[in-house]
């Protein structure tokens, strides 16, 4: 087994804000609309509540608000089979902490060939494909970790990348409408040069895949100082 840490390649968030003089049906109007009202690809540092769900009143209007964070990790540096992974998101503050969850993302043209987020990317995610369990807490000025599930790991092995969205669990994933006055979200530190979003990966290096002298191949890191990834045959086998 080997481990590696991969930094995020692309990140940002897309918001949707609906205003109306009268109460808003939050789920069908705000959550389920395919298009956002503001998209922000982060290449410079920003701390903001990029994952947030709210139903508010302000000056003469109701506001339905929902924001989703999108992250892309290129895994081409990982040569082997991923067996476990943890997505770590750095918090710029607590915000108004809420349960959050990772789901499959489809922004960035799936494979990272598009490097900016646009308004339609608001719906560039698959609610039917959760990549983690809900995370029930959010710690300020620290990495907040999501253990990715078998579905995510399978996708990473197949695709060679991780495309993920971080959303609120109760209001966006499930979803249930927030109560008027609710404003739930987490403060995320985007494009933080010191603390980038990270993916901790455990993987089995590709390369020599046979048992040697009774030792299972999965337990062999190197033979005579040569990494298994560089070994094609041992003694002609």
């Amino acid at each position: 087994m080997a481990t590696a840490t991969v930094n995020v390649d692309l990140e940002g968030y897309v918001e949707r804000e609906d205003t109306s003089g009268f109460p808003i049906a939050w789920v069908p109007i705000t959550r389920d609309d395919p298009t956002g009202t503001y998209a922000d690809t982060r290449t410079t540092a920003l701390i903001t509540a990029g994952t947030r769900s709210a139903y508010l009143l302000n000056r003469g209007t109701y506001i339905g608000f929902n924001s989703r964070s999108f992250f892309f990790f290129d895994l081409s540096s990982i040569v082997g089979t991923i067996t476990a992974a943890t997505l770590k998101v750095y918090a710029g503050g607590t915000g108004n902490s809420v349960d959050t969850v990772i789901v499959e993302g489809t922004a960035w043209n799936f494979d990272g060939s598009v490097t900016t987020l646009d308004l339609p990317d608001y719906s560039a995610l698959a609610f039917t494909t959760p990549y983690s369990s809900p995370k029930l807490s959010w710690t300020a000025s620290a990495y907040n970790s999501y253990a990715l599930n078998a579905t995510a790991i399978s996708a990473m092995n197949t695709n060679g990348y991780l495309n993920a969205a971080l959303i609120t669990d109760d209001y966006d994933y499930k979803p249930q409408a927030p109560t008027l006055g609710d404003d739930w979200g987490v403060l995320i530190s985007y494009a933080n040069g010191s603390f980038p979003q990270q993916l901790d990966i455990t993987y089995t290096p590709a390369g020599y895949g046979n048992d040697v002298n009774g030792v299972a191949s999965a337990s062999i890191v190197s033979i005579n100082g040569v990494a298994t990834a560089s070994i094609v045959t041992v003694n002609g086998v």
Binding site: G21, F22, T48, R59, G60, G93
Partner: protein, 187 residues
């Protein structure tokens, strides 16, 4: 957290609070001065008894006082603004400050010749159109803050005319358009 629970910050040119993410949320700003002046002029055009729901920065209240009227009733619900409204009214004998949410106190109010409705975080916003008739005298006139950047109103109130204003507000959290359509409703 409801609006009345927010800690308001008062500056010369605005009132705002900080949301849970430490971002500033403006409640009212002084760029609205022309709109407040026009709103006050409309609701006082027939003189008489005037009802103002929402004191805010007191801009419209000052304009209403500049016209010839009989009485000026102001309903205000934010605990940090109420003392400011009371102080402002202390030397104005025709002003009555009513403390509380307008919907909760509406049955204790009278009927009026002019009404200006401009609230923030108003949990009874949806009840404004159905309550309006109850508060108006025949031939009375009413206007309200119009959050829509079009000559229409989200309340569905019929028979409304609109006066168009070209505006250039600084970026804020409640109105970022270049046109404001002041609603004018005559009963």
């Amino acid at each position: 957290m409801t609006y009345t629970q927010q800690t308001l910050i008062f500056e010369q040119d605005r009132i705002y609070f900080l949301n849970p993410y430490e971002k500033e949320e403006e409640v009212m700003m002084d760029w609205e001065d022309d709109l407040m002046s026009a709103s006050a002029a409309y609701v006082t055009q027939n003189g008489g008894d005037i009802l103002e729901i929402g004191f805010g920065m007191g801009i419209s209240a000052n304009y209403i006082q500049s016209h010839v009227i009989n009485s000026h009733t102001i309903v205000e619900n934010h605990p940090a603004i109420i003392p400011k409204a009371l102080e402002w009214a202390s030397d104005k004998p025709n002003v009555t400050i009513v403390e509380g949410n307008w919907f909760d106190v509406k049955d204790s109010l009278s009927t009026y010749d002019g009404l200006f409705y401009d609230t923030y975080g108003d949990e009874c916003l949806q009840y404004f159109p159905s309550s309006l008739t109850q508060l108006m005298n025949p031939n009375g006139v009413a206007t309200w803050w119009n959050a829509l950047p079009t000559p229409s109103n989200a309340f569905g109130i019929d028979g409304v005319e609109y006066q168009e204003f070209s505006i250039n507000p600084p970026k804020n959290t409640y109105f970022n358009h270049t046109k404001y359509y002041l609603p004018k409703k005559q009963f």
